[in-house]
């Protein structure tokens, strides 16, 4: 540090000190002349109040109120828009959450119902299979019984046919003889046979005639 720098610092300090002293003196002078001016200040205040009222009327005139109303309306609309936006956001969020909740609930419910339905279907399928199996067994049993009955019936039928054949064969022979000889016998050739038969049954016929 040089001497010049020290001189400059000291000179600055001295200048600040002198300015401070001047301010103090100026304030003292101002306080000494204040008693005479108090009355004028109140008058001024009154005047300023009147002026302020008067100016208030000028300041808050119709246009200004309209301007304020417009500003208020805009402000209110802005607030409403913001609230509506917030409400919309809340509603969207709520709806989204509600959708998720509904999805979860419906999904869970549907899963439960599907599980019950699947179980029911499985039970029905098992029951149907069991019934079909039982029916198939019964059918097989009936088929066997029917087969046995058919065998018995066929055997009986064969025996009956054979029996009928033997019986009908005699009728066939009779028919053959009838067709072959029916026109060949004349009365005179039969008379000995007829008379013989009549003689053999004469007693019965006589008794019948006398009744």
């Amino acid at each position: 540090m040089t001497i010049w720098w020290l001189t400059f610092i000291l000179a600055s300090l001295a200048a600040v000190f002198i300015g401070f002293i001047w301010i103090i003196v100026a304030l003292n002078r101002l306080q000494a002349g204040g008693g005479s001016k108090k009355k004028s200040v109140s008058d001024l205040d009154k005047t300023y109040a009147d002026m302020a009222e008067e100016e208030a009327d000028h300041l808050f005139n119709k246009e200004f109120r309209e301007e304020l109303r417009n500003r208020g309306r805009l402000r209110f609309e802005k607030i409403i828009d913001e609230n509506a936006m917030f409400l919309k956001q809340d509603m969207d969020l709520t709806i989204s959450q509600l959708n998720d909740y509904m999805k979860q609930q419906i999904g869970a419910k549907l899963e439960g119902e599907f599980a019950i339905y699947s179980k029911g279907m499985k039970d029905a399928q098992e029951l149907t299979l069991g019934t079909l199996q039982k029916t198939a067994e019964e059918l097989e049993q009936q088929r066997q019984e029917l087969s046995e009955a058919m065998k018995k019936s066929v055997t009986a039928r064969e025996a009956g046919i054979l029996n009928a054949f033997e019986t009908n064969m005699a009728e066939i022979v009779e028919h053959y003889v009838l067709q072959s000889l029916g026109e060949q016998f004349d009365m005179k050739s039969q008379m000995p046979y007829i008379m013989k038969q009549m003689e053999e049954h004469k007693k019965e016929m006589t008794e019948d005639m006398l009744l």
């Binding site: 009838l178 000889l181 029916g182 016998f185 039969q190 038969q197 009549m198 049954h201 016929m205 009744l211």
Partner: protein
């Protein structure tokens, strides 16, 4: 004749076979009676000198067989009465043959029937070719099947036995 006043054991001629013949005989006898009555009326009750109208062979045989004097009004009346009764009450034997019965055979049969069964029996004749042969006799209360068909039916077991024997015999 006084013989016919009692229940008449008339002997029917063999030419009189069935009820139709008897009815024909009765009708002819009634005509004869009417004719003789007319003659008597014309002769004022005089029965002498009747002119006998022509009679059929059946009637003349019947009158001759039974020795009935047709000039006797009472005898004719009794005969007519008895024949009417017989027409309705004489026993009838129905005989069905397999072929047409010739009159000679029928007369032979009716002669035998009247000599062996009943002297006043009448015969009703039918035809049934399915009998093959023989006769089917229906008396008032019974039926006697003397046909070949019945005989074969009774012998049917012989055919069955023959068939059995054939079926059991080795090939």
């Amino acid at each position: 004749m006084s013989e016919i006043a009692a229940p008449a054991p008339f002997v029917f001629p063999s030419a009189l076979i069935g009820r139709a013949d008897l009815a024909r005989l009765l009708r002819e006898l009634e005509n004869l009676d009417n004719d003789l009555e007319s003659q008597r009326a014309r002769n004022h009750g005089n029965t002498e000198g009747y002119h006998m109208p022509n009679m059929s062979r059946a009637l003349s045989d019947f009158l001759e067989t039974n020795k009935i004097d047709t000039a006797n009004d009472h005898a004719r009346m009794e005969l007519t009465k008895q024949l009417r009764k017989l027409k309705d009450h004489a026993p009838v034997i129905h005989m069905t043959f397999a072929s047409e019965a010739d009159p000679e055979s029928l007369q032979e049969l009716v002669t035998w029937i009247r000599s062996e069964l009943h002297p006043q029996a009448l015969l009703s004749v039918g035809l049934q070719p399915s009998l093959i042969g023989g006769v089917y006799v229906r008396t008032p209360n019974h039926v006697h099947d003397f046909s070949v068909r019945a005989h074969m039916k009774d012998s049917r077991k012989l055919i069955v036995e023959a068939l059995d024997a054939v079926s059991r015999s080795p090939q």
